[in-house]
Symmetry: C2
Subunit: 255 residues, 2 copies
């Protein structure tokens, strides 16, 4: 039975896609069967794995036209890593879902026939708290929240917290927090260190021990369509995502 994790934060550019791709790829290398769902109309998880324009059906067709997800699963360079792709047609879904009954539960019912085939399902969310993200939160067992070590990112946490509380009360009472992940950490700046200590004080053990450093190899990898573990396994970026994968696997044991 898969553990479904929504990777979300309405703040833009905090490392949601980078975490989805690289946590997914590292879990796959550790022999876990992983499915990535790209729920962002920007399609960055799709293109970051070199899959842009290599498909005819995408997440939009499942969500709005009710086509089964099993018909749109794409292979990647890693045998244990599969992807449900997205493209800009998904932008329309936010508006087209508004008038549908059960509009938050579309993804949850689409996923039901698939979860037994995987150990992890990771959902890459857009930078908003609209219906695409709500679908991911209703379908997920837990949320992983990347947080950039900067001021605006800290500010958004309380709003995200309010949303998670509301989601637990309405569409998904079982939703838990997988963890808060500090990203783009630059040990040379006071800002990073200050935000890190604020977050650890506020959120305690909910913050992953692993911190993702700012590392240009992570920003280069998507232009080669590869996760960091295939692009540069010796980089600090790859090392940090290997540590994160270990924490996530151990989290389940604690469960």
């Amino acid at each position: 039975m898969a553990r479904t994790i929504a990777i979300t934060n309405q703040k833009g550019g905090v490392g949601k896609t980078t975490t989805t791709i690289n946590l997914g790829a590292t879990l796959a290398v550790a022999d876990m069967k992983v499915l990535i769902i790209d729920a962002d109309p920007q399609g960055n998880s799709t293109s970051g794995l070199g899959l842009r324009r290599k498909f005819s059906r995408s997440f939009y067709h499942a969500l709005i036209m009710n086509e089964p997800l099993s018909g749109m699963v794409l292979d990647t360079e890693l045998p244990n890593l599969k992807v449900i792709p997205s493209e800009k047609t998904l932008v329309a879904a936010e508006i087209e879902l508004v008038d549908l009954p059960d509009r938050e539960f579309k993804l949850k019912s689409l996923l039901a026939p698939l979860v037994h085939d995987y150990d992890y399902v990771l959902i890459d969310c857009p930078p908003s708290l609209g219906l695409l993200t709500l679908n991911a939160l209703a379908a997920a067992d837990s949320v992983l929240i990347p947080i950039q070590c900067e001021y605006f990112a800290l500010e958004g946490v309380s709003e995200l917290w309010d949303t998670l509380v509301r989601v637990r009360r309405t569409v998904n009472p079982k939703l838990t927090v997988e963890g808060f992940l500090l990203t783009m950490f630059d040990e040379r700046t006071n800002l990073s260190t200050q935000v890190m200590s604020d977050l650890r004080d506020f959120l305690g053990s909910q913050v992953f021990t692993t911190i993702i450093p700012r590392n240009v190899r992570l920003a280069e990898a998507p232009s080669h369509g590869k996760p960091i573990i295939l692009y540069d396994i010796r980089s600090k970026g790859a090392e940090s995502y290997v540590r994160l994968a270990k924490e996530v696997i151990n989290n389940v044991k604690k469960g």
Copy 2:
């Protein structure tokens, strides 16, 4: 008559808010009367200027309850800089606007009585191409597009381009491009230099000569509620936004 500029890019975390605050503040110091409209439910332009929770009416009340914008203009530390604030209630506007007639033109009609009081109106957009951004694009004379010098940011340009073309054909035939602004440029990395040369080749003179370097003082300033020109005028960040303000002022002369 004000020049209304929408600062937009659906890619998250590329420097939309940082550019709105710092271009606005620098124009204000150069004796221009500037109004910033925070059209993002995250309210980062509002909080980055130290104004969070210092108001009872915000952009949501104008957009959905038709209250006049003139009743919610806030002062800042700079006499020539004013702000229409936002808070998370604005999230609901994306859905509440869907069923309204003229849903894309709400902001344009709200702004009409105000534009004569200012030289520039800058609209900070959320990281999406939904109805809040469409309202900004329908009301604007031009768009300023911050682009991070990284792979995913380059990818999003073609989607943004499609949207701008569609907006010119439907809601705003006069919309022009103020310019593409390269942000968070790090001269030490090949990635930044490569993306910069791609953008200059694709977009030519549409790209501002001014480049905004990655500079931690820009990321620190919002936690003190100050634009960079008041937080650290000697920083590279402040210098680059002064150069940008000069280019924007000269653009109008050419315009």
